[in-house]
């Protein structure tokens, strides 16, 4: 389809009344992309510290995420056990040491390290940030935490530390840029939903029906 490529670019340039951009202008645009300038960042998205934490909790709750406040990471297994009820299906655990090292046997929770599949009940992952402005979690795909864990189980649980809470989306991209770009970055704001039947909002369309955030 290189012919199509040539045709499309030629038509665009004809419309703009010029040829390809001069080398100098191209360098300018490349430089601008290498140091991307922020646009107007709403005041709300500039919140910091306790104000950002409070806003995150408010906005996440508004988006129907469930927040469970914890003082130490060791409290998670008991909460997971609670969420699982009498269901015997295992917890899908992303393989970060801070999660795998927890005392799961002690809480009577069976865990597994596989990919998620149809019929899975619950998963637990970490995230790289929580965005205060809209109560949004930011997750990156990586070998230890397959993306399907965020999508297929009925309940998705996420560990978020208060120091990971940032003001706006721009701060999240800065974090993403610190390392090699992953295959996918998920911004997740609440559980899955649809209003496609008569515009009536129903929770749990294709993704998780519940999104539980352990706020440490």
């Amino acid at each position: 389809m290189s012919l199509a490529r040539h045709q499309i670019l030629s038509r665009i340039r004809k419309g703009l009344g010029r040829g390809a951009l001069p080398e100098e202008k191209q360098q300018q645009l490349h430089a601008a992309m290498a140091q991307p300038q922020r646009n107007l960042v709403p005041q709300r998205a500039q919140a910091q510290g306790q104000a950002a934490i409070d806003m995150f909790v408010d906005m996440a709750t508004e988006a129907v995420s469930e927040i469970i406040h914890i003082n130490q990471v060791e409290q998670i297994p008991a909460h997971i056990d609670n969420l699982m009820g009498n269901d015997s299906r295992p917890l899908l655990l992303s393989q970060e040491p801070e999660l795998t090292s927890l005392d799961w046997d002690g809480a009577n929770v069976s865990t597994t390290a596989r990919l998620a599949q149809k019929g899975d009940l619950i998963s637990l992952t970490t995230c790289i940030a929580g965005v205060a402005e809209t109560g949004t979690l930011v997750l990156k795909s990586n070998p230890k935490s397959p993306t399907t864990l965020n999508l297929l189980p009925d309940i998705h649980c996420v560990l978020l530390r208060k120091e990971q809470i940032i003001g706006g989306y721009e701060d999240a991209w800065d974090l993403v840029r610190q390392e090699k770009l992953p295959r996918t970055v998920n911004f997740i704001t609440g559980p899955s939903r649809s209003a496609d039947i008569e515009q009536k909002l129903q929770m749990g369309a294709h993704g998780p029906k519940r999104l539980v955030i352990f706020l440490l």
Binding site: M1, A4, Q7, I8, L9, R11, I12, G15, L16, A20, L21, A32, M33, P36, Q37, R38, N39, L40, P42, Q43, M59, A63, L115, K118, T134, G135, T136, S141, P143, P146, T147, T148, L151, G168, Y169, E170, V176, R177, L181, P182, R183, T184, V185, N186, F187, I188, T189, S192, R193, S194, A195, D196, I197, E198, Q199, G204, A205, H206, G207, P208
Partner: protein
């Protein structure tokens, strides 16, 4: 997709008389405008963000060749492939070739208006590949052999019994009248398709040249499953959907959700940058982007260029008094409402789509809510002027305009004629103050009364007032 735009007037008449459709459209009117207004009022910087969005999109279009080439090389760096398609046929063939290269028999699809535009589903079916829509609304429509009537709420023209009926019939399950149970049924059925599909096809709300990424914005999570589970992910998007950097993307995400559904943020905003990386346990092994032109490059530098800023939020149709009365199908092709009335004539020809830019009162609501400030009434007027110049607008209208123009150039005759007409209409409507029928204006008075004029024309009243004020010293 079959083009029914030439029958717009008949379509509209049928839509107005369709009680079920009118009931369904009530959900639109009761929902979107109020939710948008509430979300906008919570973000004081919203108007400034609109200004910046307009500037960024203009900048992107003015350097579109550069950004497309940069995007292509970044995708390749990430291990993906970019395909360019001038026409719908090119795009469909490219997608078919990719599907065949991996022996695909079924593909799952996220919601994508560009794939509606290129007629992808019909094309794949003709070539023995089964496309399965996974967005709940699109899935309902596919079961009904129906098409979207709205760009983000595709099944807005249906009511609950329509869904109950088609699920019971096609799934062979007992009839359910609870939306939640119906959604659960679709969830269960589609789970198997997600897992079994060989290829996943999604659209993209934006592509980002800075990182060679595409992004999809969904509430259901179907787009994410569509692109994560199969071996191959194909993104079908169009050349103008450029957000140069992730910073620009942040701005557009703030505008898009609020303008579209009135949400603070859509549930899943998913950035995709190539196939799975070393060590990744899931994600597609191949990542393809098909860049569709289909007439867009011709809009660069012409009177319709502003339309290339469109981010497909649907605010224009959600607030349109015409759309909200007749729904999307009346427009007769893929894109309805004000944005469709501008785009459709470009894509299928003004000859077939001539009624669309005329189906507007120019109330200006669409422009007032457009997040990227597209002057939609002006662009519709562009098409009306084109029709007038090509003499494809109705002859009665052209004759009437020519007559009025002649009269306006003969002031004495104009005053004489208008004062007689005003007096006559005043007398005719004297009792009620309005006219319920007019000899040459039946199209107007069929649906509403015409307010009868006062006994004198504006100019006469003005002259009288001036005369009086001269007579009374202040």
């Amino acid at each position: 997709m079959q083009i029914n735009s030439p029958q717009f007037k008949d379509n509209a008449r049928i839509a107005l008389a369709d009680a079920n459709l009118q009931k369904a459209l009530g959900n639109l009117k009761a929902g979107f405008p109020g939710k948008r207004a509430a979300a906008v009022s919570r973000l004081p910087e919203f108007e400034q963000l609109r200004d910046q969005a307009q500037d960024i999109k203009n900048h992107a279009i003015e350097n579109l060749d550069f950004y497309l080439e940069t995007f292509e090389s970044k995708v390749q760096e990430n291990g993906g492939h970019v395909h360019w398609a001038s026409s719908n046929d090119d795009a469909c063939q490219t997608i078919l070739d990719i599907c065949r290269s991996v022996g695909a028999r079924t593909v799952t699809k996220g919601k994508s208006m560009v794939t509606e535009e290129i007629g992808l589903n019909e094309f794949l079916q003709q070539h023995s590949i089964e496309p399965i829509e996974t967005d709940l609304g699109e899935y309902i429509l596919q079961l009904r052999n129906d098409h979207p009537s709205h760009i983000i709420a595709p099944a807005i023209h249906l009511n609950l019994p329509d869904v109950s009926e088609v699920f019971a019939e096609k799934h062979g399950t007992p009839r359910k009248d609870d939306p939640e149970a119906l959604m659960q049924e679709a969830r269960d059925v589609l789970r198997d398709h997600f897992v079994a599909a060989d290829v996943g096809i999604t659209g993209a709300n934006f592509y980002v040249p800075e990182t060679g990424s595409t992004i999809i914005v969904t509430n259901e999570g179907n787009g994410d499953l569509t692109q994560t589970l199969p071996k191959v992910h194909i993104v079908v998007t169009s050349i103008e959907k450029c957000a140069p950097t992730l910073e620009d993307l942040s701005l557009f995400l703030r505008l898009l959700a609020r303008s579209a559904t009135g949400q603070e943020c859509t549930v899943y905003n998913t950035l995709s940058s190539g196939p799975r990386q070393p060590g990744d346990q899931d994600g597609p092994e191949q990542f393809h982007v098909v860049l569709v032109d289909n007439g867009r490059s011709d809009m660069v530098g012409d009177d319709l260029q502003d339309m290339l800023r469109c981010i497909r939020c649907s605010a224009c149709m959600n607030h349109c008094p015409v759309y909200s009365q007749i729904g999307g199908h009346a427009y007769g092709w893929v894109y309805p409402g004000p944005m469709g009335s501008v785009l459709t004539p470009k894509m299928i020809g003004i000859h077939d789509a001539g009624h669309l830019p005329n189906a507007s009162t120019f109330c200006g609501k669409c422009e007032s809510v457009c997040p990227v400030r597209i002057p939609l009434p002006k662009l519709m007027r562009h098409w009306r002027e084109t029709q007038h110049q090509q003499q494809t607008s109705p002859a009665t209208g052209r004759i009437a305009i020519a007559g009025w123009a002649w009269l306006a150039r003969h002031p004495r005759l104009y005053h004489w004629g208008s004062s007689i007409a005003v007096k006559a209409m005043h007398l005719l409507g004297h009792k009620k103050g309005r006219l319920s029928s007019l000899p040459i204006g039946r199209g107007w008075t069929l649906w509403r009364d015409l307010p009868a004029p006062q006994s004198a024309s504006f100019q006469q009243q003005w002259a009288n007032k001036k005369h009086k004020s001269k007579g009374t010293p202040s």
